[in-house]
């Protein structure tokens, strides 16, 4: 039985939407954050994305050389990717498979294969999987910025008890929070 980890980038108040990243995410770029993001992705045996996140990432990341963005491009390209989408893969971006229909049994099957499956972005898919009890861990990269308004990653249906695994403070005041979902 594998582990499903949701890795999410958030403002302090939990906003994760891409439209406002110029406010809450980009200003806090730092070598420490880049290294942490790379190391977090390296924990993944496979990545999992919803259609929206995939279509946002695929065009730019698939066109990068492996050593771009401090090597992050290569890690993203060479880690197998599973996309919850009815359509075909839109870019030649390493090993990418898509699946349509109900995501729950599909993701259950992927988890049964073992290893660490890492969900990135993909708020709607995360909600579906959290509701089905399939999310095992959350890794939250929290930026020191309060948006006050905007779409938040953690939604109404994601209520759960957690266990704290680790807290790390990065160099620009970003936080790396790691939690495990408490069962039973």
């Amino acid at each position: 039985m594998g582990t499903l980890v949701a890795f999410e980038w958030l403002s302090l108040d939990g906003v994760f939407e891409a439209d406002s990243m110029a406010d809450w995410f980009f200003p806090y770029d730092s070598p420490g954050r880049r290294r942490t993001i790379l190391e977090t992705y390296q924990r993944a045996d496979a990545l999992l994305m919803g259609r929206t996140t995939y279509e946002m990432l695929a065009p730019s990341w698939s066109s990068m050389a492996d050593d771009e963005m401090d090597g992050l491009a290569g890690v993203l390209t060479h880690t197998p990717k599973h996309i919850a989408s009815d359509g075909p893969a839109i870019a030649d971006w390493g090993q990418t498979t898509t699946f349509g229909g109900d995501a729950v049994p599909e993701v259950q099957k992927l988890k049964d294969d073992g290893g660490t499956l890492m969900l990135i972005g993909s708020g709607a898919l995360a909600t579906t999987l959290a509701q089905a009890g399939l999310v095992d861990e959350y890794i939250l990269l929290v930026q020191p910025f309060v948006m006050g308004t905007g779409r938040r990653f953690i939604g109404e249906e994601m209520q759960t008890a957690l266990e704290l695994v680790q807290v790390t403070q990065l160099d620009q005041g970003q936080l790396w929070l790691h939690y495990r979902v408490k069962r039973g």
């Binding site: 309060v146 308004t149 266990e163 005041g173 936080l175």
Partner: protein, 210 residues
């Protein structure tokens, strides 16, 4: 100028209570039995020892905040008495829309508007000032820019929805993380320096605003 610290317990999604007003799921809900680990207790006691003035809403006062900590302070064997004593000793300023007399010891209702009251208090000599809420007052303090430090005691629970101190604040707010510490009981203490400067009323302002 002394500092105003806003200290609140929250869920991981930064709600101070769930939609029903409950904080079930917090490691410790302020019961007499103090369920935090020793290190977090020490951290909390140090914070209380650094202040001598408590700002609170009328609702919190009415719900028994002052009386409750007064009673805990009297329980010498209770480890929580160590910080309850500090709250008990501190001067309490209660914010209310209607002005009234306080029957609590060392507690007064603010007689001027929030901005004027806090500016005056900040200018006085003394230790730091602390605010705990309720959520409405906390939001108002953040919005007006009077909070110097935000101390969040983040509990290992996701509420999904509830009462937020950040939702619908008028503008975006950069904050500066000064400390992040995880504790064995599962609480993460986050300390942020707020970088907004207060919307200070003009000194000669004599209008009827507020």
């Amino acid at each position: 100028m002394r500092k105003l610290i806003l200290q609140m317990q929250t869920s991981l999604d930064l709600f101070v209570c769930d939609e029903k007003g409950s904080t079930e799921g917090f490691v410790w809900n302020w019961e007499p039995d103090w369920k935090w680990d020793q290190k977090l207790q020490e951290e909390f006691i140090r914070l209380k020892q650094s202040m001598d003035c408590v700002l609170l809403s009328r609702k919190m006062a009415a719900e028994g905040f002052i009386d409750y900590w007064h009673s805990i302070a009297a329980q010498e064997a209770n480890p929580a008495a160590r910080f309850a004593t500090e709250i008990d000793r501190a001067r309490k300023i209660i914010f209310s829309k209607s002005k009234r007399e306080s029957s609590w010891p060392r507690a007064d209702f603010a007689t001027e508007d929030l901005a004027t009251t806090i500016q005056k208090l900040k200018g006085q000599n003394g230790k730091e000032m602390i605010a705990y809420g309720g959520a409405g007052l906390a939001k108002e303090l953040i919005r007006t820019g009077f909070v110097d430090e935000l101390h969040l005691y983040v509990n290992p629970v996701v509420f999904g929805k509830g009462e937020s101190i950040f939702q619908k604040i008028a503008e975006k707010l950069p904050v500066q993380l000064t400390e992040a510490k995880g504790f064995d009981c599962g609480v993460v203490v986050l300390k942020y320096r707020m970088r907004k400067s207060p919307n200070v009323p003009r000194p000669l302002h004599t209008g009827n605003a507020g």
